[in-house]
């Protein structure tokens, strides 16, 4: 009897799993008949990067998510949790980066419980690349994976088709060229933490100001042995302009045509507050 690691949900039949493509084609045809378009995948534009310094890893990301050339989310979080000692930045299709990192995070937790050990970055890298290769690039997730394990700090870049590179500094996304220019200029081996944070902050800032697909704030994640600093936001590089006019409407400005009141007998079980940007 084989001792296989426990994995969630995935029947590993080998090869490609395109079971939903027929369904998607049928749905698309039906929607087009009604004269509408299928919603396009939201891409993150993005500048993400990572650097290895003396005591660990610094990961950085911007916070703009675009849909075409319109900003869909001004403050989205692109640094995803994989395990207590491993974090992953994601560029490309937003849903793909979110779901892929969550699946691997879940499987890695089960693996960690099964081995009674803190997970290794190489394991997360192997799981991510094997999944992305299985989908032959159709999962548009370009990742920067970084963490500190028993063998020290490790940094990988992972491409949508499943290739990976293990390097001391990496950048991904539409702003990767701007960020890499900063790294190539100022990267040094064995930097101190403050220098590494400043370098990553400047690299992301280069992406934010020179790439139209990236913008808003700079998020940082510093991982060292035994400590993780998730700095969100680390730097609010762009604040919204202050509007001088008042655009609030008086009650009754929107005309009411008909009104019908239906009373619902409800009992408040739980109350939570989630803030949103109403400026």
């Amino acid at each position: 009897r084989k001792m296989a690691t426990l994995s969630v949900c995935q029947p590993q039949l080998g090869g490609f799993s395109f079971e939903n493509c027929k369904r998607n084609a049928v749905l698309e045809a039906e929607v087009t008949k009604l004269g509408c378009n299928i919603p396009s995948a939201r891409k993150t534009g993005t500048t993400i990067c990572g650097v290895v310094f003396k005591d660990g890893i610094v990961l950085g990301a911007d916070t703009r998510a675009t849909e075409g050339m319109i900003v869909a989310d001004k403050n989205c979080s692109k640094i995803h949790y994989i395990s207590p000692n491993i974090y992953c930045c994601g560029a490309g299709t937003a849903a793909d980066t979110e779901m892929t990192t969550q699946i691997i995070s879940s499987n890695l937790e089960l693996h960690s419980l099964s081995t009674s050990r803190l997970p290794r970055v190489a394991t997360a890298n192997r799981m991510l690349k094997q999944m992305l290769f299985r989908y032959q690039g159709h999962i548009g997730a370009a990742l920067v994976l970084g963490g500190v394990d028993c063998n020290g700090p490790h940094l990988y870049s992972i491409y949508p088709h499943g290739s990976t590179d293990k390097l001391p500094y990496v950048t991904m996304g539409s702003g990767s060229l701007a960020a890499m220019a900063v790294f190539e200029d100022r990267y040094k081996q064995d930097m101190e933490e403050e220098d590494a944070k400043r370098l990553v902050r400047d690299a992301i800032a280069a992406g934010i100001f020179n790439d139209l697909g990236s913008g808003s704030n700079i998020d940082l994640c510093v991982i060292t042995k035994g400590r993780v600093d998730y700095l969100r936001p680390h730097d609010m590089a762009n604040k919204k302009g202050v509007r001088t006019g008042n655009y609030k409407y008086k009650q009754g400005t929107t005309g009411v045509l008909t009104k019908s009141v239906i009373k619902l007998d409800l009992e408040v079980v739980e109350e939570t507050v989630q803030t949103m940007d109403t400026s």
């Binding site: 050339m69 539409s174 762009n238 005309g255």
Partner: protein, 236 residues
């Protein structure tokens, strides 16, 4: 190579093509930018952002899209920058020709009519430019003329054009045209309120449109002349 899927009727249906694709040379490119014009009782405002972009890059953070034509008329042009430059050169030449043969400057209405003819002259290889003319008419009242790339035009009180036009136009319809509001006083627009509205509206456009940002150039046309004002916007 491509992957094939069996469609409804059982025949093979091609759904994803990843092999080599032939791209034709395109004479146009999109350089972004938003323009806006508002007309008041005795003034006109033409505003534009100053960012020039292409693809995901920025060419310039200081390239305004308003061009002064006469003492009483300003034109805002956005779209393909090459055609914007050529078109403004052609309009300047036509203004000079008119002045030399008629011994007077062209009025806003005359410039608008001439521009329409120039644009339609290129009906089958259009100038990829969205034009909005703002100025004072012969009676000294504010006038706004908005165009499409092939010369269809109409006089109005306000118009937004360019990349963020779809975001700005509904807001202007509401705040200047008082559309979709009930029981609100229809106050005439004065110059200070109009300038404030233009600044606020561009701040909002810069939040959500990646092509709009860097700085805002406002040209205010009154019978005293043309006054320019520059306001910084988001640079990301």
């Amino acid at each position: 190579m491509f992957t094939q899927v069996y469609g409804d009727n059982g025949k093979m249906k091609e759904y994803h093509y990843t092999g080599p694709v032939e791209h034709r040379f395109s004479p146009y490119s999109f350089n972004g930018g938003t323009v806006l014009a508002v007309a008041g009782e005795d003034f006109a405002i033409v505003a534009s952002d100053t960012r020039l972009s292409e693809g995901y890059s920025i060419h310039s953070r200081d390239s305004p899209k308003c061009y002064k034509l006469t003492n009483t008329t300003v034109i805002g042009c956005s779209g393909f920058h090459g055609d914007c430059l050529t078109l403004t050169k052609i309009i300047d030449a036509r203004l000079k020709m008119y002045k030399h043969s008629n011994n007077k400057s062209m009025t806003s209405g005359a410039i608008a009519a001439t521009l329409s003819t120039i644009l339609y002259g290129r009906r089958f290889f259009p100038y990829y430019v969205y034009n909005i003319i703002g100025g004072l008419d012969e009676e000294g009242k504010g006038a706004v003329y908005s165009f499409d790339p092939v010369g269809s035009y109409q006089r109005g009180t306000y118009k937004a054009g360019g990349s963020a036009s779809a975001m700005l136009q509904p807001l202007l319809d509401n705040q200047i045209g008082f559309k979709n509001m009930e029981g609100v006083q229809h106050l005439p627009l004065n110059q200070e309120k109009a300038v404030q509205l233009v600044k606020d509206v561009f701040i909002s456009a810069a939040e959500r449109d990646v092509y709009t940002g860097d700085a805002l150039r406002i040209c205010i046309v009154t019978k005293e002349g043309i006054k320019e004002e520059t306001v910084p916007l988001r640079k990301d």
